[in-house]
Amino acid sequence: MNLKVKIGKLKFSNPVTVASGTFSYMKEYSSIAEIKKLGAVVAKTITLNAREGNPSPRIVETAAGMVNAIGIENRGADYFIETKLPELKKLGVPLVVSVSAKEDKELISLVKKLNKAKGIAAIELNLSCPNLKHKTLVAQDKYATYRVIKAVKKATKLPIIAKLSPNVTDIVLIAKSAERAGADALSLVNTFSAMVIDIDKRKSKIGNFTGGLSGPAIKPIAVKMVYDVAQTVKIPIIAMGGIMNADDALEFIIAGASMVAVGTANFVNPSAPKEILAGIKSYMKKNKIRDIKKLIGSIKKG
C-alpha cells in the first residue's frame, strides 16, 4: 500500500499531520514512537518578536466545537530556533514551521532567520489568523495574499504553504492568487470568526471579545471549501476543519486534499492522529486502493 504524498519536492510518508497550534510536543506526556509515524508535524505559529497573547478566558466550548482566541502567544523566533527547534528536529518527522507577522518586513526577517536554521522542511504562512488587531487579514485580500507570498518566495528556498482563512466571500479567488504567487501548497482552513455571549452578564465569554470556531461544527463547510479550491488550483491542499476520525479525514481526501491535519481533535483524543492513519489504511485495504493518490479528489458526481 502506498501512502506517500508529495508537496512540491517534499515527500511525506503518509498524509496525516497535525494543525498548527493544536499540537505541542511534551516529553512528559507524549509518546515519541507514535509521533514518528505521522507524515509531518506543524508547529504553533511563531512571530518575529515575542507576543504575550490574549487575556483569559481564551477558550469556550460550543456545540460540537470550541471558540478560541489565544492571540498567537509565543516567545519569538530566536527562542523558537534555540529552544524548540532542536527538540522538534529530534522527532525525526518532517517539520513545518508556521509563521505570521503584522508587516511584510517583519515576515521577511522572520523567514530569513528560519533560512539559517537547519531541519525545517517547509514554512506555513499563517495569512489567516483572525485574532490579531488588523483591519482586514492578508488572507481576505487577494492582492495582499499575492504580494506577501511573492515576497516570501523571493526570500527563501523552503517550500511555502499558504494557510487561508475561511472568512472570505470566495476562497477560490484567494487560492488562485496564492497559486499564482508561487505557493507550493495550500492549508485550508483556519478557524471561522465567531463569538459566544454570556446572557446573564451580557458580555462576551471570550477575553478577546471574539475568536475563531473549530471542531466538528465547521467540518461540512470546510469540506466544501476544499472541494471548490481543488477544482480550481493544481497545487496540493492540506485540509483541516473538524477532523475527528478517519471517516472525516477521508471526506477531505476524496474532496481533493493531499494531506489532512488533525487540530481540535487532539485536545479531546490525543490518539486521534494515530487512529486516523490506521483508519485510512484499513479503508484503502477494504476498498482495494493501493495508492492514496487514487483516492485524492476521487469524488464522483451524478
Partner: protein
Amino acid sequence: MIKSQNTYKIISNKQVSEKFFHICIDAKSILKKIKPGQFVHVKIDDTLTPFLRRPFSIHRADSCLEILYEILGEGTKKLAKKKKGDSLDIIGPLGNNFSAPPEGTKNITIVTGGVGVAPFLALTDILKNKKYNITLLYGGRNSDYVFSLKSFLKNKCKVFISTDDGSVGVHGRVDKFFKNISFEDAFIYTCGPEPMIKEVQKFAVKNKIKGEASLEEVMACGIGACLGCATKTKDGFKLVCYDGPVFDLEKLDFNANGKCKCK
C-alpha cells in the same frame, strides 16, 4: 500519542450532598505517581456533548482514584449518571502539585469554598503524619454544598464551616474565622471561588504569610498544548494546566487577570 491516557473502570459513584458527588475509579496503575494538587482530564463519553474533556482535582489517591465533583452543567450531570463498572477515558495525573510547607512551619490553614476543598484530602493524607496544627476552613453557599468532612477530621484537621445563608455552621464567609486562628509560623493553602482566593491573598500579603493557591481555568488540552488556560501572574501569563494548577499565592495577579475587560 499520550503516554498518560488510559481507560479505567468505575468502582462507585455516590451522591454526598445535594450538589456533590464522589466517584472512585480503579486507576491502580497511576495511584503511586499522583501528588496532592494534581488533576485528571476526563472524557465524559464518546458523544459530542460535552465536546471537551473535563478537568477534576484528585481528591484522594489511596486504594482508588477519588474525585469529588459538583453538579454544574451537562458534563457533570452525565458523570453523575455513570454506574459501577462503566469506564472512563482519563488523561493524568497532570499539572504540578502543592509543595511541602517551608521548614519551621507550625500552623497550616486551608481556606476553601465549595468543591475547591477537593484536592485537600490528598494533601492532608500526607500532612497528618507530620507535626502540624492543621485548620480547615470550609465555606459553602448553603447546606446543598455541605457534605461530611469526617475524613478531614480523621486527618487531624480542625474543621470550621460557614455558609452564606447560615443554614449550616457560622453565617457568613470563611474569613470570619481568621481572627480565631494562630497564624504564627503559618502556611496557607487555598482553592475555591476567585473572590475567596483574592481575599486570602490580601490577608496573607498584609500579614506576611506565605501560601499556595490552586486555580481553575477553562481547559481544552490539559497538557500545555493549546495555551488556552493561561492566567495572568506577576511573572506574566502562566498555563494553569502545565505551570499550575498550584501557584505561589503572592504571584497571582487578580487586577490584571484579564477577565473580559471588553464592553
